[in-house]
Symmetry: C2
Subunit: 333 residues, 2 copies
């Protein structure tokens, strides 16, 4: 109780040993005699001592935490990736902190500065600002997640291939007027998925969004429905599932049957995709694996830094077909 101004000194005093011994009990329990160890441990309990990590880190140099800076914590995709990373971090005795940049570059920079000052062991990041990588080249190991870069290690999924998968699926189902929903185009994920799709279907149109949320998807849906029926696309490829869910919701609300009059493909295959009004066809990414791999890469980078060769690991996406694209019959020619 009381304020915890109790330090290693107080413990040492109470246990009748030196501070070095207390430190050893904490860090090298094997080197200290069981008898004194117990004395010290009792003193620790009685005084309610809790180690001051700042002091420890200052002297010892190493931090016991990793951080993952995400674009949008409300997107289950990122929390699933985070869970994978957390597994690895825990196994290594490290804590993982989640930081939500919320797609705001300013917030992202603030977090990166904070983490740099805190000298965290390493940082995972899915950045909004492409330059955020080198900002941290200032000595802190960093791995890019779901995005590739020259400036450091990265773990990603082939987004061009993902876009291709989605577009080919729609084209094979007879769709000829397809719209791509996503944004901002400054996000490589958004660009690559678009590039992959346009490769299959050059006449792909596009509705840009400000962010990748359910609300943006709803707005995009409204825009599509504002088009004259003759020009209206028969299928939408959304840059992520949140957009797709919002888009789908707007279709349902306006009585447009999905997939009969509007097929929808999402991206990420989050758990909610399957539970949607019309279960979503979606491009699946190996979320947990992505997180685990990224964390492992980060840890090895932290060990071998500096003079470390950056590695780039890329996984392949998979198309999960569900009701939102099923059974579309192409209109007679």
């Amino acid at each position: 109780m009381a304020t915890n101004s109790v330090g290693i000194k107080d413990v040492a005093l109470r246990a009748g040993v030196s501070t070095a011994t207390v430190s050893n009990v904490l860090n090298n329990p094997l080197v200290v005699t069981p008898a004194t160890r117990e004395k010290v441990e009792r003193a620790i309990d009685e005084l309610g001592y809790v180690r001051n990590e700042s002091a420890r880190q200052l002297r010892a140099g190493s931090s016991r935490t990793l951080a993952y800076v995400v674009l949008d914590a409300a997107n289950p995709f990122f929390t699933d990736v985070a869970r994978g990373a957390q597994e690895v971090a825990e196994a290594a005795g490290l804590g993982l902190f989640l930081c939500n940049s919320n797609q705001d570059p300013t917030v992202e920079h603030r977090y990166l500065d904070l983490l740099a000052e805190q000298r965290v062991r390493g940082v995972l990041i899915t950045p909004i600002d492409p330059d955020s990588a080198q900002l941290l080249t200032r000595g802190i190991p960093l791995v890019m997640v779901d995005r590739s870069t020259d400036a450091g290690c990265s773990v990603s999924v082939d987004d061009v291939a993902g876009g291709t998968l989605a577009a080919r699926h729609l084209v094979e189902h007879g769709h000829r007027r397809i719209v791509y929903v996503g944004g901002p185009m400054t996000l490589p994920q958004v660009r690559d998925r678009h590039d992959g799709a346009i490769r299959i279907h050059p006449s792909l149109t596009m509705i840009p969004t400000q962010a990748m949320t359910v609300a943006d998807g709803r707005r995009a849906g409204q825009q599509v429905l504002a088009l004259p029926a003759a020009e209206r696309p028969t299928a939408a490829f959304c840059a992520n599932d949140l957009l797709a869910l919002g888009f789908l919701q707007e279709m349902t609300r306006q009585g447009i049957p999905v997939p009969a009059e509007m097929a929808i493909v999402g991206y990420d295959d989050i758990d909610f995709a399957e539970a949607a009004a019309v279960p979503l066809t979606s491009v699946r990414q190996p979320r947990a694996l992505l997180g685990r791999t990224a964390a492992e890469l980060l840890l090895t980078e932290a060990e071998t830094t500096p003079h470390h060769v950056h590695r780039h690991i890329q996984f392949h996406p998979e198309l999960i077909i569900r009701a939102s694209t099923a059974g579309f019959a192409p209109p007679p020619p």
Copy 2:
């Protein structure tokens, strides 16, 4: 470039001033002459100096971060609360770290220990372990979120009232066989919502779940469908929306029409509730407000600690009625 072993001393040397002046440039820019300030700032840039937060905190005593320990980061409810808290934290110049206990008491304790050692400015927590509150009475301000307690400040929503709202709605629509889906019962949220419901409908049955995820909801759905049709409930009240979505998904999969043969009420009214296969009736909690209020409480507690009177703020839930409970006609008597 190179390792960033560059400290305040190196900056001082390069700028031709003392370390104290550098420190002042960093912390009290007003007290130092513009000329020297600029010299120092140039040196900082040239050397790529980044302040060592451990040392700062060790000497100055105060941390610049808050943390929010959540039950399940994959539940959008918590990330929405977190966003509210982050707003307040940012306004106060603090960073907010999210920690995911994932409903595992061991992980929760590890995080709390870590945060205590780190001497964070304060901790928000929605705990899995009821004793986690006093674990931190060791000097770190703590506010319980979405849960009330005697051991400290808390910000919550009246869950008993929420359960009552849900049950009354179902009963008024003529339902007589209602099942409550949720667990573990050690979670006060789960208990209170149940208590509120049973107050209205004493014959409420129950399907306990291990956690509150979509997958658990699916499993609960299977259990319900395994019952003989005569005993099968006509309505389910789920302890949160994730459960409700999983439950709904299982109904759809088995061809049970919702709400005609099974009405569903969820809890939290996350964004996905409205986008569900059948838009979910749900008990809404003021998520962002909850987070903002909790963070504000935490900050004032941090200022006035110790000898601080704990405050308990409680909000009221609201029933949002959607298709998943609409138009049910009670069977003829």
